[in-house]
């Protein structure tokens, strides 16, 4: 059935039931406690993104700064900006590129390094992920051209579809690989000049290139975010929140949603969150998540922690979880260095350190 006919049918008869259905986390996504039980490397509010530089150093974006993360968890400030750093990427030539929301610092460790604020004839607005492209270029995920990065939740509830993926060559020329995306968050260079990007509000990864976009991994059980190449082939995918039927329902109820956005404080909206359980006014408290005073691990999650190991064939292999009752939620970045896997839980403000070998052996057996 064509999209138009499908929409017409929905309009006449309603197809909300299908929209309210969400995929289950089973198979490779079967919940475990790997993230929740992972050792904490360091803790600081405002942690946003991770990058392993060419020299092997681990850097993190944290508020308006870039910090070097020592093996002992000590954070050393190496750069400071006038606004929050929203993305971080290591280039093969040793530079660090940093997203600053509506601009990109191409050499972030240099105080007077070059910046770009326009790409493909359009101002950058919500840069949330950068990846090094072949031949010295950059791939940029500009989440929304309307809402700034910090207001991603507005973009979801307003059903924003203005995200784009920009390929910026070494010569400074930029072109849109894809536009009109329902939030672009996370990008990864592919060998054939294409890119893999997360289209977050549609819960899918898409392959983009030359203005075309094709689903590569659809029906993800959460909101996909940044990705990082894995040494053993494939990549690590972060999922910053899990899908719930309640949020899907609210997304179908236009009047309710508008009323909620107008009258309720944003942190109490019925919407995915990076962390939860901090205030009794949050939705999904009480009976829906607790039984006999104990948080049900199978309760509808308002926030969740999830990292998925995806193979070269785009098939999920295994996953690391921090379940509803856990703390390490809102995972937005992951970095691999040798056998070390660093996971950034933005919700908890923590960087976790795991062993790639141990987690893969522990989960796959």
């Amino acid at each position: 059935m064509s999209d138009f006919a499908s929409r017409l049918k929905s309009l006449l008869f309603g197809s909300r039931d299908e929209q309210l259905s969400i995929p289950i986390m089973d198979g490779a996504l079967k919940p475990n406690n790997a993230l929740e039980e992972a050792p904490i490397l360091c803790e600081r509010r405002g942690l946003e993104d991770l990058a392993v530089a060419a020299d092997g150093e681990l850097y993190a974006a944290c508020g308006p700064t870039i910090v070097r993360v020592g093996s002992d968890g000590v954070l050393t400030e190496v750069a400071r900006f006038e606004r929050d750093v929203t993305a971080l990427a290591a280039c093969p030539d040793g530079r660090l590129a940093a997203g600053l929301g509506d601009a990109i610092a191409l050499d972030a460790l240099r105080r007077d390094g070059p910046r770009i604020d326009t790409a493909a004839g359009q101002r950058l607005n919500a840069v949330n992920a950068i990846a090094a492209a072949p031949a010295g270029g950059l791939l940029i995920a500009d989440g929304s051209t309307i809402r700034p990065y910090a207001q991603w939740c507005y973009d979801l509830l307003e059903k924003g579809r203005t995200g784009r993926i920009v390929a910026c060559g070494a010569d400074g020329r930029a072109r849109n690989l894809a536009a009109g995306m329902e939030y672009a968050f996370g990008v990864l260079a592919e060998a054939d000049g294409q890119a893999l990007a997360a289209e977050t509000w549609r819960h899918q990864l898409v392959r983009v290139g030359a203005g075309a976009k094709a689903p590569a991994l659809a029906n993800i059980a959460g909101y996909p975010a940044r990705m990082t190449r894995a040494a053993g082939g494939g990549f690590w995918l972060t999922v910053f929140a899990a899908r719930t039927q309640l949020v899907e329902f609210v997304l179908c109820e236009n009047d309710y949603r508008r009323d909620m956005m107008r009258t309720v404080e944003p942190r109490f909206w019925v919407a995915p969150a990076l962390s939860s359980g901090e205030d009794f006014r949050e939705p999904l408290q009480g009976g829906s998540v607790k039984q006999m005073g104990i948080l049900k691990p199978w309760a509808p999650p308002r926030s969740y922690g999830l990292v998925v190991r995806v193979g070269d064939d785009l098939i999920p292999k295994f996953s690391l979880h921090s379940r509803v009752g856990g703390r390490h939620h809102g995972v937005v970045a992951v970095a691999e260095r040798g056998d070390e896997l660093f996971v950034l839980s933005k919700g908890a403000g923590r960087i976790l350190r795991l062993s790639v070998r141990q987690v893969s052996e522990g989960i796959l057996g």
Binding site: E18, S21, D26, G27, P316
Partner: protein, 499 residues
């Protein structure tokens, strides 16, 4: 007291169309013993018991009842001489009440319904069977029908009762009660012949066991001298213990592409917000007790039944949302559902193997296969008969004439002829002998190895554990637990299914 022989069969042979169904069989049934008769489908058990019950006349040999030659040429002869048979498929008249069925053929000249009902009530109570004698048989469940059959046999004051697969349709609680009844019959001096594919039951209840293979007598011994492996070896001529439900899996197949995603599915009160995924290249086992919604979920997936119109959830096949109202579009999309009730839903029983397979092939091809050459149809039939090792006299033999295991192979062949990508086996080995079970298991494994997404629904835990790469447990209309085959134990799975 198990001393005197109540029934003796000497050198009994029965030949059908130049093929011997049983050959030179010697069989002895002692007074007051429970004698289990075991063998693969097609081993000759049914022929042997039909001779005893007067349904079939032997080609040669003698049958002695209490030392005297018996003339068992009709079922009436057998009944007169105290031999009753309780068939697997009940022989009750559906449109009559329980009481009328009990006294069918024994009515007095002036028959009163009330009198019949009271007599039936008293008789059923004496057997401790809780079945209302005034209700129509058609309204009874399978287990209750079985009880009425048994009661009728007892009412005939039979000296010998033959039970053919009596426990196949009974719940565990009903089985327990059935065994109690059989032991009571034994204590009253009644001799029982017990045919079952469930070897554990035979080992539990019988005094002696006889095994037939390919129409020949292989073994008769006291049950205490036998065990499961010895019986299987006698039945199939080789040790199948490892092939069947042997050792734990050391490795599992890795998951391939997501082949099927069921999301928040609802079907009346049976399936409640059920979600699950099935991956290519793996066997996904579904275990659950009766009423857990396993079968209904997959019947929705294949279009046999429909999900709720409102709030019915979503089914994604290879990432595409589907809503089948009939099975045909599902078949065209590569979904095969191999039913648990092969006799009612699995095949056309009066059609040949070839025609049955061809019908399904046509269903997949649709209008494109309007014209089919006879030679193509023949070669299709021959291919699948050979591929699945269907043992039949010829490819044109009617399916009803095949043994249970071979019938099941035909049902499987019908579906595989459609070249499906998602194959759902619902109770694939129910009522199938051990030899055929091993072959069916091997086939299921081959399908998964070939990259197909395979689902095996079974209520027999050792089977589902031996086959599955991942195991989903259903309870009260939804999947409640998932195990990798490496971590699953019978205790864990059963705990999830019950609690």
């Amino acid at each position: 007291m198990m001393t005197a022989a109540v029934l003796e069969m000497r050198q009994v042979t029965k030949i059908y169309a130049r093929a011997a169904a049983i050959e030179d069989i010697d069989f002895t049934l002692l007074t007051g013993e429970i004698h289990a008769l075991l063998g693969e489908n097609g081993a000759g058990k049914s022929t042997l018991t039909k001779i005893i019950a007067g349904v079939v006349v032997p080609t040669s040999g003698t049958v002695l009842l209490e030392g005297h030659e018996a003339n068992l040429r009709t079922p009436a002869d057998a009944i007169r001489q105290g031999i009753a048979m309780v068939f697997q498929e009940t022989s009750l008249v559906q449109s009559m009440t329980v009481a009328q069925n009990l006294f069918l053929g024994r009515e007095s000249f002036f028959n009163r319904n009330r009198g019949v009902n009271i007599a039936a009530q008293q008789f059923m109570q004496s057997l401790n069977f809780h079945v209302d004698p005034t209700v129509l048989v058609a309204s009874l469940g399978a287990a209750q029908k079985q009880m009425v059959e048994i009661a009728r046999a007892v009412l005939m004051r039979a000296r010998i009762i033959v039970f053919d697969e009596p426990t196949a349709t009974l719940t565990p609680e009903e089985k327990k009660h059935f065994f109690y009844l059989v032991r009571t019959l034994k204590s009253h001096g009644v001799s029982v012949i017990f045919i079952s594919h469930a070897l554990e039951e035979a080992l539990l209840i019988s005094d002696r066991i006889t095994v037939l293979r390919d129409g020949k007598h292989v073994l008769t011994d006291l049950t205490k001298n036998l065990d499961r492996n010895k019986i299987i070896q006698a039945m199939v001529g080789r040790d199948l213990s490892k092939e069947l439900y042997g050792t734990r899996k050391a490795t599992v197949r890795p998951a391939g592409k997501l082949a099927l995603s069921v999301q928040n599915l609802r079907v009346g009160n049976v399936v409640k917000n059920n979600s699950l995924s099935v991956f290519a290249g793996q066997i996904t086992g579904i275990f659950g007790l009766v009423g857990s919604g396993r079968t209904e979920t997959f019947k929705v997936v294949s279009g046999v039944i429909k999900r709720d119109y409102k709030h019915g959830g979503k089914v994604l096949l290879d990432g595409k949302a589907v809503r089948y109202r009939v099975p045909a579009p599902g078949i065209r999309d590569g979904v095969a559902y191999i039913t648990e009730d092969r006799k009612a839903e699995g095949f056309f029983e009066t059609m040949s193997i070839r025609s049955n397979i061809l019908v399904n092939k046509l269903a997949k091809a649709g209008i494109a296969a309007f014209w089919v050459r006879r030679r193509e149809a023949d070669s299709l039939g021959e291919h699948w008969i050979k591929a699945l090792n269907v043992r039949a006299v010829g490819k044109s033999v009617r399916v009803i004439e095949l043994s249970g295991g071979n019938q099941q192979k035909v049902v499987i062949a019908k579906s595989l002829a459609q070249d499906p990508n998602l194959i759902i086996f619902d109770e694939p080995t129910r009522g199938v002998d051990v030899g055929a079970i091993a072959e069916i298991h091997q086939l299921i494994n081959q399908l998964a190895d070939a990259g197909k997404a395979v689902v095996v629904i079974s209520s027999y835990l050792p089977e589902v554990m031996a086959l599955s790469d991942r195991l989903l447990v259903a309870r009260q209309g939804k999947i409640v637990e998932e195990f990798s085959a490496l971590e699953a134990t019978e205790e864990k799975v059963m705990y999830a299914a019950v609690h």
